[in-house]
Amino acid sequence: MSFIVLIAAGLLVPVFYRSNIFIAKMIAVAAFIVAAYFIYTGQSLNSVFSYFVMDDATRLMEFVLLATLAAVSLSLTGFERPLIAQMLFLAGASLAFLETNNFFMYIVLFEVIAIISYILVANIRNFYNAEGAIKAFIAGAVASGIILFGFALFSFTTDSFNYTDMNVSGKFTLIAVAIMLAGIFYKLTVVPMHGWAADAYSQVNHAAAAILSGVIKSVVLVATFKAFYKFLVVYPLATVLIFSFFAILTMTLANFMALWQKRISKILAYSSIAHSGYALIPFAAVASVYSYSGILYYAIAYIFMQTSVFLILNDLRRELGVKYLEDIKGLYKKAPLHSLIFTVQLFSLAGIPLLAGFLSKAVAFYAGVDAGLWWIVLIALLNSALAVGYYVWIIKHIYFDEPNNNVTINMSQGSLIGQLILLAGTVYFGIVASDVFSATISL
């Protein structure tokens, strides 16, 4: 039911684009709420098809996803309106993606989401947008090809695509999985498949970047973990080696790259890449019972904070033309509310406690320690401390410097509500950890 509601709303919304964008937004929000209700009552895709199942973790992730998308749609304005319908479709596809327990469906929906993301970035207003969109598209096309190649190999070796019944033994499978992972790493922006992301995230419209880097990445993280769980468990040595290697490579490179950027969007883009690196640790630590909690928590925390910072940057860019670090000097005077929320979310990204960013890291990294990878966790933590360097540097520009002009802006009500939803998520999951754990681990 939830799927139908979202798709229907997605078809309905463009009707109001020209006349009244407010109604379009309200319809979208209503659709998200109704969908959430159906998920709550258990009437999602799982009630129709047997290869979709609903469990606590999925449900939690879906609630978070819908809340985030609602927040995003509330804060959109003007030419960003096509995103509303696209988000409704994205929500529908994501629900299916998260709920599926069939590897074939996983691959299909992965491609669906990839296509939606190409459409998201296709909202081209200028040269930079176009460059970002093209990069995302070409890289995505190559990745799709690789994934399908891996999947083709895999389909020769297995009798069933059901997650629990898949045939995972055999050397062939291992190679197939490796090739598929290479494709998926592209979507997760793992170094060295990250090149497109650094440009695309920073160059496309920031609202689209918020969805691309925040929402889609989180969904892919959770769904991929579920899909590949069985492989990862069966080949512990390969898992630990590959994922640790790429985790360290990704976070280190991205953090050093972010540290000396001058464009804020580029900093956030590299920060997003670095976070992918952290998120690979629970994959490596799949031997631990906490790995699933870790990945889920990471996705939840990440979706709130990353979406929020890009949306605020979107606001700032629209109202103040903010592009570079110099542009946000003394921002606390020009836009106090933006500054405060931006700061809190940046602290969350940096991993400061009482915010979701910290607890998610704590859980994800503990999974690593639990699996015996304490030295990788140490490197990851030092990396996150390094990352604090550029987050604090942004905050430094906002609060410690004086503004170069006296323009002041207010936050629109839609943005404010949207930001408050995201902020509530960041703070709630920063203090209360029990939801995620009870969803993933039964006592």
């Binding site: 990069k135 070409i138 190679i175 490796a178 090739i179 290479a182 060295p192 090149g195 440009d199």
Partner: protein
């Protein structure tokens, strides 16, 4: 607790606060508070003297109980304490009294009297405490008061520096004392002064460790009592008001080193540290006496003489005669207070002119002061029947009988020379013609009540106390005193003193040509220079602290800190930039590059898997 003891313990501090607060409202009140409190303290000491001469006051109390340890704080008042109390409070009272006129013009009187009372409190604490910790507290209180009073005229650069020097020199010794306390806690299990003596007598202490402790305590005493090599502060301390010099740097605080050795006499005797005490003291006595010969400032002459006489008292202790040492301490305190206050009167009369070479002829304007100073000088010189004669004679005799050659020689020279420099001082001040226009013209008249009276009292006492010399000795030491007897010593000393006296008179009164010829010889001038600068010990210590401690050790550490430790920290920023540049090379923004990297990534994964697969 006994009322008198309570008053002695607490009254000085209350008095100090009161003097300051009341003095702020009305300046004279500060003096009166101090005078009254000083009187009360002296009375309390007298009460103790008359009431508790038969029994010992012994009060025990735990100050801090932490962990498995207890830091005690006890009061122990025996005859030694009572004598010291009488000296401290009596001289303190007279000194405060004298300050009425001497400090009468100073706007900062409240601060002055508060500090003086605080000082007396510290001295009292030192002499009535039972434990080394209490002694250390009093010791440091005095150090602080001395520092603040030397720097009383803080706006004078020299006074401020002198205060700093005094504090740091004495602190150097005190640090050893603090270490001694810690060592005693561990190795003896007690810091109780009385128990330490008992344990020493019973031979219960590890001898090596006890020697270390004794030497550490003696280091403290060296600092406080201005012995070699930590004496230069005492000379520079003369930058303070003369009343302060009289009380603190002449009569009381500088005695505390001697007191602590006397208090731990059995302990020192057991550890054989007395041998070192005697030798260091003899050397100091010689240095002090010779340097005093050539100084120009009145107060510096007195300061060197103080150092020398303290050393003589130390020698008495060092060669094993507690009686001689303590007797000389008491006598010296009185005549030195007299001389300093007399010098204060002279300075007061001569409009704060301290250079002896610029004074002269004051006997006409201040005959009484001249008389009292003469009495003090004779006592210091050791001329019978003044008290100084008896105690100094006793020390020298003891040194001849029990001391080694070094001690014997040096202490004798020092004892003989005292007549030289004090005579020189007296002659320069009082005889001849005024050598400076200010002194020659109008002078301050010393008032009878505030200046002549305290001087007179002290002059009287220094003479009168000669009658009770052996009583004092017995009162302090108690048991049978083994008095040293050296045949012909008195005659030798007196003859020697007479010869020296005549030379001095010849030189300074008659102006003998021969002597001038000797004095202007290059060799003599060099000697003179060395003596005048106190054997360059100060220069050496200053050099060490400036060039070694500050400019070598501290500076190199600073260099290390900025150029190594912090450099690494700050350099991390540049290093991250280097790494960034390295990584940046791979981010051309061209999609072809990205595709290449993509393929590289796929290749890494696949190759890794193939390797693992092969291994399977």
């Amino acid at each position: 607790m006994n009322n008198a003891v309570m008053i002695l313990l607490v009254a000085p501090y209350i008095g100090a606060v009161l003097a300051y607060i009341l003095g702020k409202t009305k300046r004279e009140l500060a003096f009166w508070v101090a005078e009254v409190v000083g009187g009360i303290l002296f009375l309390a000491s007298l009460v103790l003297f008359f009431k508790y001469s038969d029994t010992v006051i012994d009060i025990n109390y735990t100050w801090i109980a932490f962990g498995n340890l207890k830091i005690p704080f006890g009061i122990y008042i025996d005859h030694l304490s009572i004598v010291m109390l009488l000296v401290a409070t009596g001289l303190g009272f007279l000194d405060i009294h004298f300050a009425h006129d001497y400090m009468g013009d100073d706007p900062d009187q409240p601060r002055y009297y508060a500090k003086v009372l605080f000082f007396i409190g510290g001295m009292i604490l030192l002499v009535i405490t039972k434990d080394l910790i209490g002694a250390f507290i009093g010791w440091e209180f005095m150090g602080l008061a001395s520092y603040l009073l030397i720097s009383f005229w803080y706006y004078k650069s020299s006074a401020a520096s002198a205060g700093m020097q005094a504090f740091l020199y004495t602190r150097f010794g005190d640090v050893f004392m603090l270490a001694a306390i810690a060592l005693l806690f561990y190795y003896a299990g007690t810091v109780n002064l009385v128990e330490l003596n008992e344990m020493a007598n019973a031979g219960e202490l590890d001898k090596t460790m006890a020697l270390v402790v004794a030497l550490f305590i003696f280091m403290g005493a060296i600092g406080k009592s201005g012995q070699f090599p930590l004496y230069p502060w005492l000379m520079n301390a003369m930058e303070g008001p003369t009343t302060v010099s009289a009380l603190i740097h002449g009569a009381t605080m500088v005695n505390s080193g001697i007191y602590i050795v006397a208090r731990l006499f059995d302990f020192f005797a057991y550890t054989e540290a007395l041998f070192i005490v005697a030798n260091v003291a003899a050397l100091s006595a010689f240095i002090g006496a010779t340097s005093a010969l050539v100084q120009k400032e009145i107060k510096k002459i007195l300061a060197y003489s103080t150092m020398s006489h303290l050393s003589i008292a130390f020698v008495g202790l060092g060669v094993g005669s507690l009686a001689a040492g303590m007797l000389h301490l008491v006598n010296h305190a009185i005549f030195k207070a007299l001389l300093f206050l007399g010098a204060g009167a002279v300075i007061y009369i001569a409009h704060h002119q301290k250079d002896a070479w610029k004074l002269g002829g004051l006997i006409k304007t201040a005959p009484w002061v001249a008389l009292f100073m003469a009495m003090g000088s004779l006592s210091l010189a050791g001329v019978p029947p003044f008290s100084g004669y008896f105690s100094k004679e006793m020390v020298v005799a003891a040194a001849w009988e029990w001391g080694n050659g070094f001690t014997k020689t040096f202490v004798t020279i020092a004892a003989l020379l005292s007549i030289a420099y004090i005579t020189r001082l007296w002659i320069l001040i009082f005889l001849g013609e005024p050598r400076h226009e200010e002194v020659g013209g109008s002078v301050h008249k010393p008032s009878n009540l505030w200046m002549r009276l305290p001087l007179g009292i002290l002059a009287f006492v220094t003479l009168a106390i000669s009658l009770w010399q052996s009583d004092i000795v017995h009162y302090i030491v108690g048991k049978e005193v083994v008095e040293p007897h050296v045949a012909g010593l008195a005659a030798f000393m007196l003859t020697g003193m007479l010869v020296i006296f005549l030379i001095v008179v010849g030189l300074y009164v008659k102006g003998l040509n021969l002597l001038y010829k000797i004095a202007s010889h290059q060799f003599v001038i060099t000697i003179h220079q060395i003596l005048f600068n106190g054997y360059y010990v100060e220069a050496m210590i200053t050099w060490i602290s400036k060039n070694i401690v500050v400019n070598a050790i501290a500076k190199s550490m600073r260099w290390f800190d900025t150029n190594v430790v912090d450099y690494v920290v700050n350099k991390t920023v540049d290093w991250t930039k280097m790494v960034y540049r390295m990584f940046k090379a791979g981010h051309s923004g061209k999609i072809g590059t990205y595709m290449g990297q993509f393929v590289l990534g796929v290749a890494i994964i696949v190759i890794a898997i193939l390797i693992i697969v092969k291994g399977l």
